[in-house]
Subunit: 321 residues, 2 copies
C-alpha cells in the first residue's frame, strides 16, 4: 500500500487545470502499488488514477512505460491509458515528482487464483507478447541476471538475519545461473511483474492488466517463468501442477513455445525466483520502523527457489509435451 | 492510512449480494481513517465506501453512529449515508468484522486551512449541534476526563521516552483538570473529532463532514475546543488568533455561546489538548515496527497544551466579547 507523497490543494488544482477533465471533486490515496504514490481521483469528467513516481522508477523510463500502455491498448490489450493534457503531454510534474493521470480500470484482483484464472492469465500473457511485437520502444531488463550481483552485494552481509544460510543460498544460485543463463531465446516486450494484484477480473473473465512499471525487453519465456512463480504455488509454497498446466496451456493457445524455450524454463523459473528473492531481501533488510509499506516475505521465494532447484524439466511445471 | 483487513472475493460477493447495488466492479483500499479499514467500492450502481470496523470501535456503538448519520442528513447536514441491504439492515458482517456500506461523498480536505475555512468549520459545527438536538441516541464520551486516568496509567512508565518530563506534564495536567472540569454546560451530540481530514470542501465551500466514530453526548463547547486545537494552530504550533476568531465567529453565527461556556473554554481547550496528547502518546509508544499506520506526533499536542496553560480567557482565542 502506498502513498508516499502528499499533494497540496494548490499544486493539484494547478496540475489538473492543464487537462480537459474538469475540476477535482475527490482525491483518495489508495493502498495499492508498492513503488509509487497512487490516488483515486474523481473529477467532473469521471474517475482516474493519479500516479506520482517515487525514487524506484527511473524518470527516463517513463516514456517507454506510457508509450507501451498506449500501444498495447491499440492492439486490444485492456490496460490503463495515460490521459494527455491540453499541450499533448501525458507526463507532468506534481509535488516535485513525475506524475501521470491514467484512466480508471474496473476489475478485482484475485487473492487465491484458481486453475481457470491461471489459464486466463497464461492466455493474456501470450496476447501481451504478440501485441508488443511491433512496439518500437526498447528497455533493458535491469533486474535480470546482470542486475543481480549488485543486489547480492547489498544484502550479503545481513541476509542470514532472515534465515541461516540465505547469503550462501543466494550466492551459489547466482553463480549457477550466471553459468547457464539462456541466450538467444525469442524476446520482445515482457510485463516482468504479472502478479495477481496486477491482473483484474470481472464476472469470471480477465478484464485488464495494470502496472507496467517493470516492463522491458527480454525473453518471453522469462515472463512465463515469473508467472509460474507468481500464480501456481499454494500458500504453503507447494507447486500446484494443475495450475501450472493451465497457465502453460493458456499461453500456448496464443503463442506456441519453441523447444529451446521449453528446455530453458526450469532455469528461467530459478532466475525469476532469485530475482524476487533478491528484491524482497533488500526490502526486508531495509524496512523502516513505522514504514507505511509492509515488505513482502523473502522466505516465500526461498521455498519457491528450492522447488525449482529440484525440477528436472518443463514437464514438472505441467507442460504436456 | 488504513487497510487492516483483507477481504476475499467470495466473502465480498456474498456480502454485497444482500444489497440492491449490483455487482462489485472494483474495490480499492484507501489510505484514510486510522481506526477502520476503508475501501472505495465501485458497483454497478455507483461508488461507495465500504468500512470494516476494527477493534477500536465498540460494536455496540455502531447503531448510534449510523443512526446519527441518518438523522443529521434529514436535518440538512451533508455526511455519508449508510446503505441498507434488502433486509433493511445497515450493519452487516464481513471478514469477521462489523461492516457497513456508506454513500461516497465528493470533496477534498484541506492540508493547510485558512481563516475562511475555519469560519466555515465553525458554522458547520454550530449547525451540527443544532441538527443533533432531536436525535434520540445517547453515548457517553469515553475519551473525556473520566477516560483519561486509564490512558495515563497505560503510558506513565514510558512517556518520558518521547520527551523528558512528559509523564509528569500529563499527570499534573490531569490532576488540574479533574479539579476544575466544568459541569452542567449545554450538551448534546458532538462530533468530537472534527479535524481537517474529516471536513470536505468543494469549490471553496464546505461540502460535507465525515467520520462520526467518536461522536458522543457531551458539552457543545468541548467540541468547539477540539476544533480550536485542530484548526487554529500553525505547523510550528503557534496559535493563529485570526483563525480562532473566524472559527468562534462562524460558530456563533449559528449558535451563541453562553457565558459559562465562554468562561470554560480555556479549560476545555486544555482538556481537548490532553485528550489527543494521551491517545497519541499511547499510539506512539505502541507503534509496531513495519506498521501500516504512521502514528501522529504527540509533541504537537505538548506544544498546544502549553499554549492553553498560559491562556487567560476566551479572548486569547479570538472571542470578541
Amino acid at each position: 500500500m502506498a502513498v508516499y507523497t502528499e499533494v497540496t490543494d494548490e499544486e493539484l488544482a494547478a496540475f489538473v487545470g492543464a487537462y480537459d477533465i474538469g475540476a477535482v471533486l475527490s482525491l483518495k490515496g489508495i493502498a495499492e502499488g508498492v513503488e509509487n504514490s497512487n490516488y483515486l481521483m474523481h473529477t467532473q469528467a469521471g474517475f482516474y488514477i493519479l500516479t506520482l513516481y517515487e525514487k524506484r522508477v527511473e524518470e527516463a523510463d517513463l516514456p517507454f512505460f506510457l508509450g507501451l500502455m498506449e500501444h498495447l491498448s491499440t492492439r486490444g490489450i485492456t490496460c490503463p491509458q495515460p490521459v494527455k493534457n491540453r499541450a499533448g503531454a501525458a507526463l507532468g510534474r506534481l509535488a516535485g515528482r513525475p506524475a501521470v493521470i491514467v484512466t480508471f480500470l474496473d476489475g478485482m484482483w484475485v487473492r487465491r487464483p484458481d486453475a481457470g484464472q491461471c489459464a486466463m492469465v497464461g492466455e493474456a500473457l501470450g496476447k501481451l507478447h504478440l501485441a508488443g511485437a511491433d512496439f518500437a520502444g526498447r528497455r533493458a531488463n535491469s533486474l535480470s541476471v546482470q542486475g543481480w550481483p549488485p543486489l547480492l552485494h547489498a544484502v550479503e552481509a545481513r541476509a542470514d538475519e532472515i534465515t541461516q544460510g540465505l547469503g550462501d543460498l543466494i550466492k551459489q544460485e547466482l553463480a549457477h545461473l550466471e553459468g547457464v543463463w539462456p541466450q538467444g531465446l525469442p524476446e520482445g516486450v515482457i510485463h516482468a511483474d504479472l502478479f495477481p494484484d496486477n491482473v483484474f477480473f470481472l464476472s469470471g473473465k480477465l478484464s485488464g492488466l495494470i502496472d507496467f512499471y517493470f516492463a522491458c525487453t527480454d525473453a518471453f519465456a522469462y515472463d512465463l517463468a515469473i508467472c509460474l512463480n507468481a500464480w501456481c504455488f499454494e500458500a504453503d509454497a507447494s507447486f500446484n501442477i494443475t495450475k501450472g498446466m493451465a497457465l502453460l496451456d493458456g499461453y500456448e493457445r496464443v503463442r506456441a513455445l519453441r523447444d529451446e524455450e521449453i528446455a530453458a524454463l526450469p532455469t528461467l523459473a530459478r532466475g525469476a525466483a532469485l530475482r524476487f528473492l533478491l528484491t524482497r531481501t533488500v526490502d526486508w533488510l531495509n524496512r523502516a520502523p513505522g514504514a507505511l509499506v509492509k515488505p513482502k516475505d523473502p522466505m516465500e521465494y526461498v521455498k519457491k527457489l528450492r522447488f525449482h532447484q529440484r525440477v528436472e524439466g518443463a514437464r514438472d511445471y505441467g507442460l504436456n509435451r
